[in-house]
Amino acid sequence: MKALIEIDKLNLFYGTFQALKNVSMEIPQRAITAFIGPSGCGKSTLLRTLNRMNDMIPGTRIEGKIAVGGTDIYSGEVHVETLRKKVGMVFQQPNPFPKSIYDNVAYGPRLHGVRGKKQLDEIVESSLRAAALWDEVKDHLKRSALSISGGQQQRLCIARALAVEPDVLLMDEATSALDPISTLKIEELAQELKDKYTIVMVTHNMHQAARVSHQTVFFLNGEVVEYSETEKLFSDPSDQRTEDYISGRFG
């Protein structure tokens, strides 16, 4: 599989604390890559470097290179707004805006200059369909996004991210606040979306990584201990620490 994102010798510091140490990897296009590891291991930090959300944390410093589609995203000529349009993100807590369902999905396209009512209607419908939410909300698009359930809200957030036509979808523990059935729906959705999008997910749940991803990366203390095809990582890990973690000996 072709790599869409290339990370080369990445070091990241929060002030004097080094959160990522010499991280290198390739993330394949149109597939699901899962980041696993104990809390504070740097997996979410790495995810947030991919759409430069870490820029907002004062005192963050980065060395090394991250290329998305062959372009170094930390170089001077990259506009972070354009990058984030291409690299969308779904967060741990469902975070819809206190607006209507329609306005939530239309928020991104409107930011990027889509004005026509008909065009927006089409984007809203296709995004909600892609997020497997259309049938549940099509009759009350004007209702507040806060009135639907947590699982629906999370799918709405996915629809909102898809509405700006990203190539990459980052999911930062997107199911950890949801019940098992909603989690399952999101996992199924991820399976469908991988045919069109490159998905990178951070998860606390090793079973989730094993169930849905093609490639799994195991982090420990800011370092990548091991990364390989998911099947291999879980059945035949090459590092002792990986084996200890996936067999539940720590973490």
């Binding site: 907002m56 209507s100 957030c157």
Partner: protein, 300 residues
């Protein structure tokens, strides 16, 4: 489970008879009692203030010229000045106050200087209004030599309200959950787009409360006006001249109550009081309409 264990006494789920249950009842009663007392007090106060003035109120009173010697003067120019001053001071204080609050919440670096500025804003918002009046005198009467004017009064009022407005704006913007900000940024919005489309709409409730407080305070303020806009009007209605003396309704109230020699001073004061209270309540209601519309759009 067999028969022998079940034959024991049934569980009792009756009232808990401990001291904590008693305290809970006492506390509940106390909070209810005080709540009702406060409401009665406010309603009683409103009633007492309005009962003497409201029945005697006529339209004529609202727009006729006050009289210095004879009975039957109105509050026209003072009422007009109240609104005129309020409008000018809000035109000045709202943009500056909101901008300063948004700056402090969103752009200000995290350092000692900004902390110091924040303490100053906090302190200024509790400085007695007479100090701002003295500042107004120093600036407009002594430095610019323009005397007691509507313009000087309005600007001094705006200064009086700026710290409070800035603080409330900063707090409301900060109270917007960071998740929402992140959601907006992650969709590729610029900082301005996030502020305009997420932070301000979500914080609108707090912002309107701030503007309401400011407007109510500006409308009822007297010390600043006495010192910077004076205790006289130009004596004609609809005087839009910014350099006219600008006695407002609150000041007029103080004036008729303490200085005036008209025989019906008492009655004028009562009627003016009811007008003042009525308008302050009205301001609060009018400013809430957009909130109400907004919440109808987002909830339901």
């Amino acid at each position: 489970m067999n028969e022998s264990t079940r034959s024991e006494a049934p569980y009792s789920f009756g009232k808990r008879n401990s001291s904590s249950a008693l305290y809970d009842r006492i506390f509940t009663g106390l909070v209810w009692g005080i709540g009702i007392l406060v409401i009665l007090f406010i309603v009683g106060l409103l009633f007492m203030l309005l009962k003497n003035g409201l029945p005697k109120l006529t339209w004529d009173f609202l727009y006729s010229i006050p009289s210095e010697i004879e009975e039957g003067g109105g509050i026209g120019p003072a009422l007009f000045n109240s609104f005129y001053l309020l409008a000018i001071s809000l035109i000045i204080s709202i943009p500056i106050g909101l901008a300063a609050g948004i700056y402090l919440a969103e752009f200000a670096p995290n350092n000692k200087l900004i902390d110091f500025v924040r303490i100053c804003v906090e302190g200024l918002s509790s400085v007695p209004s007479i100090i701002f009046g003295l500042f107004g005198i120093a600036l407009f009467v002594e430095m610019f030599q323009i005397g007691l004017t509507i313009l000087g009064g309005a600007i001094s009022l705006a200064f009086l309200n700026l710290p409070m407005l800035t603080r409330i704006t900063e707090e409301s913007i900060r109270a917007v959950p960071v998740e929402m900000k992140n959601a907006s940024f992650a969709l590729g919005s610029t900082h301005l787009q996030t502020i305009r489309k997420v932070l301000v709409p979500v914080a609108l409730n707090g912002l309107v409360t701030g503007i309401c407080l400011t407007a109510g305070r500006a409308f009822g303020e007297s010390a600043v006006i006495i010192l910077t806009a004076g205790v006289t009007t130009s004596g004609v209605m609809w005087d839009f001249n910014l350099f006219s003396p600008g006695e407002t309704l609150a000041v007029h109230l103080w004036y008729v109550q303490s200085e005036a020699i008209v025989p019906d001073a008492q009655e004028i004061a009562q009627k003016a009081t009811s007008v003042l209270i009525f308008i302050v309540l009205l301001i609060n209601i009018v400013f809430r309409v957009p909130l109400w519309l907004n919440s109808r759009k987002t909830k339901s």
